[in-house]
Amino acid sequence: MSEPEGRAAGGQATASQLSAGPDTLGTREQIEAVIEQRLRQRSRRNRRMYLLIRVVSLIIVLAAWQYFGSKATPIVFDPLTRVLGALGDLFRHNGLGSALWYSVWTFAVGYLIGLVAGVVLGMLIGAYRRVEAGVGLYVYALYATPMVAIVPLLSIWLGFGVFTQEVIIALFVLFPCVVSVSYGVRNIDGDLLEVARSLRMGRASLWRHVLLPGTVPYIAAGAAQGVAMGLVGMFIAEIFTQLSGLGNLLETAAQTYHTDEALAVLLVIMALGVILRGLITLVQRRVAPWAK
């Protein structure tokens, strides 16, 4: 069977076909290969351009930081070089390494608990009206509540230990996940649900072949937002419980007017956020190659 729409889909081919003349027009496979190569080249060029923009913007921002930092009073703001120096000092003498380790570990535990609970709860709320009717109200109420407000209460109930910190982080992660995932399940393409019905899918098959894969992009979105919220939770928990970790380090530095150290800790947090987000994108591409 011929397949003219395959050729039509790559509109770029027309120009080269015309210039090369109809005699040199190859088979459909050859033409497709040429088009594909051209598209690949273009996307590679684009990627290189975006990378360049990113690098240039980073240089400008860092240079501006250096410039304005060196003009400012040290207690208010510091140049990049001094902050990096402070970062090195913190690592060598003031336990930034162990604080980072502690924070990351606490975050990982709290984040995973929040993520798993959020995804499961979000799926159930999204898929079953009865669950939504039963618990939806509380979820939306808590989602609208600034989580900071319940941190003091949590310390009263659970004390000032690591467990409290993990619970706080989990709660910060939970609600954006629930909201995103339940929205995703509810917004599964109705046409696909009809296809599922015509294929006589049972409940288990429906989850496996339709609901779960169809919600992956929303799970990823919830997970990404969960990183941002979870880091906020981590900081609040650490500052509030004064236990240890990055938040505590930042708090100490700021209270003793070591602005360079405070900025150094801030840099570490930002890097952490960027890395975690990248990780999620990586996982998503791996798990869901169809969702670009």
Binding site: M1, S2, E3, P4, E5, G6, A8, A9, A127, G190, D191, L192, L193, E194, V195, A196, R197, S198, L199, R200, M201, G202, R203, S205, L206, H209, V210, P213, G214, V216, A288, P289, W290, A291, K292
Partner: protein, 292 residues
Amino acid sequence: MPDKAPPGAPAAAPAAPDAADAADAADAAGGRIDCANVYKWFPGGIVLEDVSLTVETGQFVCIVGPSGCGKTTLLRMMAGLAEVDHGQVSIGGAPVTGPNRRVAVVFQHFGLFPWKTVQRNVALPLHLARTPRAEAESRVSDAIRTVGLSGHEHKYPAQLSGGMKQRAGLARALATAPDVLLMDEPFAAVDAQVREVLQEDLLALRARLRQTIVFITHSIDEAITLGDRIIVMGTRPGRIVRDVLVPIEQPRTIAQVRRHPAYAGLREEIWQQLRQSAAEQAGNPVEQAGEA
């Protein structure tokens, strides 16, 4: 919109397996479709009024009619996707009570799962029916070859053109070797040239298919080109207004159909039947007044 599924139709409802078993028992009648005094009401009013129609095994019937004539609703009833409010729809002698394994649907929106490759989309109904693996594999590759998609097995739907998507949709329907193929405006979402190629291929395929085919379309030309028989439906209420046999022998090509002496007359005859409601839908009050 009577053509659409009623909102909130329970998509998760597991299909009744006994319907298929009943159909299994009635193998003798094969792909015969019986609609007896079928009625359908939607909140807006009556959608189908007293529709009776018998399609013999192996017949290719095109149902043509304006929007809102209930042709898609009729097809969804045959597919077990819409309830029959009054009367009865039977396939192979067994009343339709839900989606049936011996009936396959090709959807206008293709209905491919974006997270599955062509191969996995086509294999899904076999997988759900727990077909032994070796058999399923050979059936899948047969179906993919039949529709001309060899070489595209491992692509995701997003990587396919509209025409190729519908080929994949057709392959999925054929993979289960159903007795009845229900096609709901399958070529409406692709552009005119691609549609013609798909029609040509379906005509060529027709000689090898033993299925009863019900094909819904807006286009009179498409109906004459493809069908052995044309059912013309009218609106308000949706009903059958004409039932004609196409006097053009199978197998045929589009060119043969266009050249056939009966073509122009048949086209005009059906058009006369449809122009009244077409004029109304085009918002042409003069035409309406003239006809009255």
